[in-house]
């Protein structure tokens, strides 16, 4: 009778508790990071990994749970990042940022508007969160628009079409005609950002919790059915077009939010940076973590960012060479990192977590114990 009971209320509560605990931990981590200059990189790594966790999970919803091989992530992130940056540059700083375009066409900043209404303390926060939601909505709108023609395609063709979309977005945003809005190929900077780690953790935590709830809902089950067998899913009354679109739009929404957070983390955005390589990085996290595992994606994004940005740094420093060998040089860490990835893929064919979730690991242990006791 265990599985027939629906313990979703428990999931929701558990999720909120986990987010609260992580937020407290992140405050602690920040204090530790600030205590020593050698640890200052930890804060940046944690922020970046948190953002990537959301991006990886949103990609996993498409690639892992709905079986749509899409590579448009960078495009949706770009939409989110630009939306965020454009809407939050303080009015006074706009003349400086849009120096070639008379301060741009957008003359207000949402956080400033809200701090005018709600006061200096919570106004900006409300404004920033609201802007993130707008980022998501706009990315979702683009997702819907692209989804109309593209979702008829299957596997590799879908991947190529979405990849094309991401490239088009990148060029589009740099187009001179839109420059008063997007600042052309110049950077957008000086916009409002979260100063600390914990707001990142809370926003990402809530987004991932929503995705978890979605995946465990009846719609999430329908997505998995489409992934497992499209023909059977359709024969059992699941409307393929509608559900694929739903999954695509939701994934783009969270990619947009992730893009907004990415803009915050980077503190300056330029369309040039959102290349397809960024999508591949996220895809790599999804694959390493396990296609179809949310906790896998989260773990993989932390490991990935940790390795590539922090733990392997020492390999780049020629001063660490031992015994006259000149092996260690800038860029060498990426060689070692690639070998790491190969090893992971070789020994964990289905990613670190397969399609299991973190709590499943304990659950299976329990069942085995029960079985042993029964004997």
């Amino acid at each position: 009778m265990m599985k027939t009971k629906n313990n979703s209320a428990k999931t929701l509560l558990m999720g909120l508790v986990v987010i609260a605990v992580l937020a407290v931990l992140s405050v602690g981590a920040e204090a530790i990071a600030n205590s020593a200059s050698s640890l200052s990189i930890m804060l940046a790594v944690l922020k970046k990994a948190t953002v990537y966790a959301l991006l990886a999970v949103s990609m996993n919803l498409l690639n892992g749970f709905t079986g749509l091989f899409s590579l448009g992530q960078a495009g949706f992130m770009l939409v989110g990042a630009y939306t965020y940056a454009i809407l939050t540059i303080p009015a006074a700083k706009r003349a400086g940022v849009y120096q070639y375009y008379d301060g741009g066409v957008v003359k207000f900043s949402i956080p400033e508007v809200f701090s005018g209404v709600l006061g200096e303390s919570i106004g900006p926060v409300v404004g920033m969160v609201l802007t993130l939601v707008i980022c998501g909505l706009l990315a979702a709108f683009f997702g819907w628009l692209i989804g109309l023609p593209v979702l008829r395609l299957k596997s590799d063709y879908l991947a190529i079409a979405t990849l094309g979309f991401a490239e088009i977005m990148r060029t589009f945003i740099q187009f001179e005609g839109f420059a008063p809005l997007t600042n052309g190929s110049n950077t957008l900077r000086q916009y409002t950002t979260f100063k600390h780690l914990y707001p990142y953790v809370i926003v990402v935590g809530i987004c991932i919790l929503i995705l978890v709830l979605l995946i465990n809902s009846t719609y999430g089950r329908a997505f998995k059915a489409i992934r497992d067998d499209e023909i059977a899913a359709e024969a059992m009354g699941i409307n393929l077009a509608k559900h694929k679109m739903m999954s695509f739009v939701i994934s783009s929404f969270f990619a947009g939010v992730g893009g907004g957070l990415m803009a915050m983390y980077m503190s300056s955005v330029q369309a040039k940076g959102f290349t397809s390589a960024m999508t591949y990085e996220i895809l790599l996290m999804v694959v390493i973590g396990g296609i179809g595992s949310i906790s896998g994606s989260i773990i993989a994004s932390f490991l990935f960012i940790g390795c590539s940005e922090w733990w392997l740094r020492f390999l780049d420093d020629p001063a660490n060479n031992i015994g006259g060998l000149s092996l260690l040089a800038p860029g060498f860490r990426m060689v070692v990192f690639s070998v790491f990835i190969m090893i992971v893929v070789l020994f964990f064919r289905r990613g670190l977590m397969g399609d299991k979730e973190f709590p499943d690991l304990f659950r299976r242990g329990k069942r085995q114990k029960k079985g042993a006791a029964g004997k």
Binding site: K3, T4, T218, A232, A235, M236, I238, I250
Partner: protein
Amino acid sequence: MSENMLKIENVTMQFGGVVAVDNLNLEINKGEIVALIGPNGAGKTTAFNVVTGVYQPTNGRVSFLGKTIVRNHPQGKMKKIYKGEHPELYTGKYKLERLPGEGDEALAKRREAEKERDPNVFTSHVLAPTPDKITKLGMARTFQNIRLWKSQTVFDNVLIAKHCRTTSNVFSATFRMNRKEEAAQREEVARLLEIVELDDVKDELATSLPYGKQRRLEIARALAAEPKLLLLDEPAAGMNPQETDELTAFIGQIRDQFDLTVFLIEHHMDLVMDISDRIYVLDFGKLIAQGTPAEIQNNQRVIDAYLGVADDA
């Protein structure tokens, strides 16, 4: 006269130059078990695929519970290469011929009767819903080669089939505002699994079940979609005689219990003769015989089609 459940009229399915189903006409009444048999490649599964919306027929009409659900006529390139019959029956060119000595009033009456039968009868109206829409109308099927959702448990396989009956939208489902509906669905699935005797393996992966049970699960999944008409595509394929007997009893049992009408394709003649009320026989896409099991057993054309005719005969 019993209520009409499914009616296939003049259905032709042509793939390029190959006519897979040729002018098929058949009718299934409520509560019946009807079998469609025929040698390999006769077009049985194609006929199923037309009824369930997987294929759009080249020509013809399918109605379900008195309502037209599928309707088409040869279009575009198919107009030129169409080899079947009645190419204009489902287009605007279809007219009622005046019978000899028939008055205007009688003709108008016949026109009305035709319109009653099919509101779009004198138009080129095309109806081609996707399979999911047809399933929602109350038709569910199984597949010749088992198509269970491989990564899902037995319980989830059946639960997912309930998805087409949910009324909650994606937001209310995500934020768990549909708890009552979800609980009711889970309850129903648990009960259904008890009926089909799969409740002891409900947390196993669907693919880990033995073959016979996978077949049973596929039927259970179809039942979860709450059909009025159940289409079974070779439910006994690959089963041994004992499993086949069990299946025969099972099909009869669920027909009574769920108030179903069953339309099945099968090669096991024991099963077919045992449970069918009526049998249709297809050969090379054409209907060659129909009737009760006893009639079919003694039909020379059926025997010829199945066993082949000796050249010197």
